[in-house]
């Protein structure tokens, strides 16, 4: 469904050259929910922007359903971390959700149907006439998710969508995303810096290295499909998986794979620049 091949992004400007993403190759199958974790500043957002066609990669390519992505593709929706800035304060919730549909040449009745259906899926049917700033943070991010759903995407890209909401709201929103994924069969790529969240949500977790970024490891999450906050998070397998991801990320920060870390005598020849 989603193919990322040899993706490289170098920012060049005023004498500074920053290699944000070095060489990323991975695939996301149709209907899969994949979480991407990595140390902070590892180029997750750059990667997502390249995938969504908002940025042009320096080299490599992104394929959506076999077609190279050159600009924002119609079959892809993006949920931003900054919901407060991503929703338009001058439009009511209903109009925020409807705006992208107006570019899609749909009939008015079809648009209304999609908007009502999307708002119902996120439990915000009552808030259709409100302005985004009249809602709580969690509700605002629900509106942003509804906007993405109404767009009927094949692929949903989510860039740390719950980083700015409180822990309880976050748990609700995580369950919402998993529920929507199960009901609608959308392919979701979920970027997060939260290891627990990645393991709880994903069917597969991609661990990125520190910048310049490569894929450090791909991990299959073999937890049952039905997950809930109470039981899944205390399951022994959950703990093992999160420990593994945590170790990998720590290793990524130091710049080498975790299995080398176990051999104490090798620590002496850590690569230059590593702490």
């Amino acid at each position: 469904m989603l193919d990322v091949r040899g993706l490289k992004k170098v920012y060049e400007g005023s004498g500074r050259r920053v290699e944000a993403v070095r060489d990323l190759t991975f695939t996301v199958d149709a209907g899969e929910l994949v979480c991407l974790v990595g140390p902070s500043g590892c180029g997750k957002t750059t990667l997502l922007k390249c995938m969504s066609g908002l940025l042009t990669p320096t080299s490599g390519e992104v394929l959506l359903g076999g077609r190279p992505v050159t600009g924002p593709p119609p079959g892809m929706a993006f949920v931003f971390q900054e919901y407060g800035r991503s929703l338009f304060p001058w439009m009511r919730v209903r109009d925020n959700v409807e705006l992208p549909l107006k570019q899609k040449k749909l009939t008015t009745s079809r648009r209304r149907e999609l908007v009502a259906d999307a708002l119902e899926s996120v439990g915000l049917s009552d808030a259709a006439g409100a302005y985004p700033w009249q809602l709580s943070g969690g509700m605002q991010q629900r509106v942003a998710i509804a906007r993405a759903l109404a767009y009927e995407p094949d692929v949903l890209l989510m860039d740390e969508p719950f980083a700015a909401v409180d822990a309880q709201t976050r748990a609700d929103l995580e369950d919402l995303v998993r529920g929507l994924w199960q009901q609608r069969g959308i392919t979701i790529l979920f970027v997060t810096h939260d290891i627990d969240e990645a393991v709880y949500l994903g069917e597969r977790v991609l661990i990125l290295s520190a910048s310049p970024t490569v894929v450090q490891e791909q991990l299959k999450v073999d937890l049952p499909t039905e997950r809930d906050q109470l039981h899944t998070r205390v399951a022994p397998r959950f703990a093992e998986l999160r420990t593994h991801v945590y170790e990998q990320i720590q290793a990524a920060k130091r710049g080498r794979p975790a299995d080398l870390e176990d051999a104490k005598d090798m620590k002496a020849d850590a690569p230059p620049g590593a702490p």
Binding site: K49, S52, G53, L54, P72, P74, M76, A77, F78, F80, E82, R85, S86, F88, P89, W90, M91, L99, P100, K102, Q103, K104, Y131, W133, Q134, L135, S136, G137, R147, Y151
Partner: protein
């Protein structure tokens, strides 16, 4: 609290009027140059009964309104285009900074040369003065566009026109509104100045005529009319602003969620 403020405001105004009545009556200043309020009010009522007054008022409002519409339209269009095209922004910046501080009244000789005492003279001055207010505010507004909002619009496939209409314009609107409010006030000043100095038909010329024919209370009455006009324009502009920007933080205030 609000009622109390209104009461204080009314009392203050009443006190001011009483003072203006008493000072000439007591002979502190000469009644010839500063007639008591009652005589000004009298002259005002007489003006209201005069057809020529209403024609003059109409002329002033025409110059003001037409000039404002031209300035606002041109200011918004130019502001958006200049801010959106980086090349234009760079090339026009210094020219704008040079032209903007030129006082509009300095163009009075030019206006007379070009159009004599016609309406066009008034329009030239009004448009020149108010255009910059709108242009500068529009340019600030367009530059204030949130990159996240813009990226959201792009990621959902909104084309250039849709982005201007749905993201750029609403973001710039609060700034544009401020520009229009300032421009409306400046436009009135320039309209009256042009009539007064050039002699184009309108309240300004009527004030000049009243002064030269020693009709002092009439002159004051007309000055009061221009003042009230300015007040109404400001109140009107603020009302439009509040309606159009109900969603904006400056109007809605902090919302407890």
């Amino acid at each position: 609290m609000k009622a109390e403020n209104a009461l204080l405001g009314t009392a203050g105004l009443a006190g001011f009027l009483v003072l203006c009545e008493a000072v000439p009556r007591l002979g502190i200043v000469s009644e010839d140059y500063f007639p008591p309020v009652t005589r000004i009010a009298d002259a005002l009522v007489t003006e209201f009964g005069d057809q020529a007054f209403w024609t003059a008022l109409g002329d002033t409002l025409t110059g003001w309104g037409l000039g404002l519409v031209i300035a606002v339209t041109a200011g918004i269009l130019a502001g958006v285009v200049i801010s959106v095209v980086p090349f234009l922004r760079e090339t026009t910046a210094s020219t704008i900074e040079f032209l903007r501080p030129i006082p509009s009244v300095a163009l009075i000789p030019l206006a007379v040369l070009l159009y004599g005492t016609e309406l066009q003279s008034v329009l030239l001055l009004v448009v020149y003065a108010s255009f910059w207010q709108v242009l500068i505010q529009t340019m600030y507004g367009v530059q204030d566009v949130d990159p996240v909002a813009m990226e959201t619009a792009r990621s959902y496939g909104l084309g250039t026109w849709a982005r201007v209409r749905h993201v750029l314009w609403p973001t710039a609107l609060p700034y544009v509104m401020t520009g229009v409010r300032l421009a409306a006030a400046v436009a009135l000043i320039l309209a009256v100045t042009a009539e007064l100095v050039i002699g184009a038909p309108g309240l300004g010329r009527r004030i000049a005529v009243a002064q030269s024919s020693q009709a002092v209370p009439e002159m004051y009455a007309l000055v009061v009319v221009t003042g009230v006009l300015g007040l109404l324009i400001n109140v009107g502009a603020r009302t439009v602003e509040r309606r159009a920007l109900a969603w904006h933080q400056s109007v809605r205030g902090e919302v407890a969620v």
